[in-house]
């Protein structure tokens, strides 16, 4: 009869516990599903940004909004948030003016710094339903880019 010493027993038991913990953690993680984060339900196109190209300072963003069925959305309240890819920055959140035909124009929007922005469009429909769409807007010109462009124009 094979007899195990206490040290072997405890070693095997510990190995078993480690494996069980690892499996439990893996199981918990694999059971987790993605978090929506309020996205979806809208099809947003940026029609134009004025001035072009987008640069630090005041800007006017024109959007065209459709629902997921492809119908133009003209009766929603649209809010636009501009945020950076780095967390912790003060976002720019503005209302929009409906111009009909699914077109909305931002009011008092301002790019506060150069770099990569994310434009988040939030819609609140008449029935209270909300939807959201995010659009990456890379390379908003900073002050240095603008100075550089002016220099080139001067030459």
């Amino acid at each position: 009869m094979v007899r195990l010493g206490l040290s072997e027993i405890t070693h095997n038991a510990r190995t078993l516990v480690v494996v069980l913990i690892a499996l439990s953690v893996a199981l918990v993680f694999s059971a987790c599903g993605p978090r929506a984060g309020e996205t979806g339900g809208l099809d947003v196109t940026i029609v134009s940004i004025s001035p072009e190209p987008a640069a630090v300072g005041d800007a006017e963003i024109t959007l065209q909004i459709r629902d997921m069925a492809g119908n133009l959305v003209s009766d929603a309240t649209i809010q636009v948030e501009g945020t950076m890819t780095h967390a912790g920055m003060q976002p720019v959140i503005v209302a929009t003016e409906a111009r009909g035909n699914g077109t909305y124009v931002t009011e008092d929007f301002r790019f506060t710094m150069g770099g990569d922005w994310v434009i988040i469009v939030r819609a609140t429909f008449a029935n209270g339903r909300t939807a959201e769409q995010r659009i990456d807007l890379k390379g908003v010109q900073g002050e240095m880019d603008m100075k550089s462009d002016k220099g080139k124009e001067g030459n």
Binding site: V18, R35, E38, E81, T83, A87, G88, M113, G142, D145
Partner: protein, 606 residues
Amino acid sequence: MAVPRTQPSTQRDLLNLPVIGSFLRWKHARTSMQAVLLAVSALILYDGFWGPQLAPKNLAGVLPWVHWRGLVVLALLIAGNIFCMACPFMLPRRLAKKLLPANRRWPKVIRNKWLALGVLLVFFWAYEAFDLWASPWLTAWVALTYFVAAFAIDGIFRGAAFCKYVCPIGQFHFVHGMVSPLEVKVRQPDLCGSCPTKDCIKGRYAQRPEPDVLRHSRETNAAQDSPSLSALSWSAKSHPHPDPLPQGRGSPPSLGEGIGVPGKSLDATRGNSNSEPGIRHSRASGNPSSAGRVGQEPAPTTSESSHRESKQSSIKEPKQAERDIAIPAGLQLVQTGCELWLFQERKVGNMDCTFCLDCIQACPYDNVGIQLRAPTSEFRKLDQLHSGVGALAQRIDLAALVYVLVFAAFVNAFGMVAPVYALEQWLAGQLGVTSEPVVLGVLFIVGLVALPFVLVTAAAWSSRALSGSRETLAATATRFSFALIPIGFGMWLAHYGFHFLIGALTAIPVTQSFLADFGVILLGAPQWELAAIVPDSWLVPLELLLLELGMLVSLTVGYRIARKQHGSMARAIRALLPWAVIIVLLFFTGAWMMTQPMEMRGIILG
């Protein structure tokens, strides 16, 4: 027998405060703080892997890069190494100590800061090269890697090897904790000299109660007298802590010759930076086999003297049996001593101190406190032997770590302002590459290695030449490295403090959004407009103030270092001059960055 306590300290001691003191004295204070941060870490991991991959909308994007970094530097400024105290990575580490052997000695060749320095360099580079700040998914991976590394390393190696030799965050805390106003230290040093058991470093042991299952096995196998079981067959009589001062104060301590005297003492008590004491804190008594006592009849351990004697005997022979202190089988560890091998009696300053409070819990005389001190007092003791660390003035690895952290403060902040992109474009053109990681790699090698090396070498050479010092170049560079810590810390404060001040409230809408996805509506819809806690107009003046303070403190510390080394004021000023030039240059560099427009871009090349 009641253990006499020290007289209430005349110094300002956090432990004497009504609520905070009571909490910190609580045995589970640290665990409870760690548990809170562990729960937060779990949320970060979950949201990082499965949440929206937009950093400002994700807990993994907001909490580590805005709140944790900002609170870390603020805590270091106004208190001390609070975040090591509450470190969530310690819970899996403790689990590893229970489950895995944890009996290997950390390799001698890396018993220093070089490995941590390498990890730190890689982290700084990866942070920019892979835009960790913009990727919740990568942030979660970094956090997970941390948990696994802490678990694996401390499951294999003895003591707190991960904290002391690997953790880059810990190194950041250790270095900048040198300017913190709080320090864990002995209240009445003369009492330590009389302490026979040195629990602060060895830990406190008590008689192990015999588990029923083992008693049953022992009875069943009594005839065969299995060695492995007999090792656990001891009296269940409790093992009280020894009379604290059995020989009376002032009489030679029974362990004094082993602990306190260089040459005969444990390595940690000698202050060697690359040595470990021969104590298996967590495992020695938990598993008799690991204590090298399998097969031996346990010594009769009902008396305190046998406990002390057995410790004593092994201390006198530190090379024997991996220099383990012989903890008689039958004793179990009820409170670990310092796992970073800082022997309180000879501990100096905050270097390598995680504020774990193990020493406070272990000391039977209540002779260790968290005391207020002058924030720069530690820099006066560069030549003094620090337990578990050595003399700071002789630690080239530590000096290299300091220089990298100081210059990283500026390089890291430079990564957020517009000119860095012009520099990257120019460098990419010169190198003929379009890979941003490669370009950033070159920038980091130049900014964190080559430039500091050239500047420091030039300053050390000039300092020696001007002062007539005979100290070697490396020794001069090492000594004065510590003078640069305050200016570097000022820059970290300005940078991380900036992010915290302009984004502290962002945690609210992100948490609202997180909960809303699980059907919990907290205070209505997420208030995404919440962000700053101070007006924008305060930021640059505040940043400049912090940087100026850093510069002034650096100059003061530099002068004190020079004065202590050279004696006369004239020589000291000449010795300081080159270092003062670097400090002032760093100040103007930082001030220039603060006036530059901020930009945040991901990949810009190619």
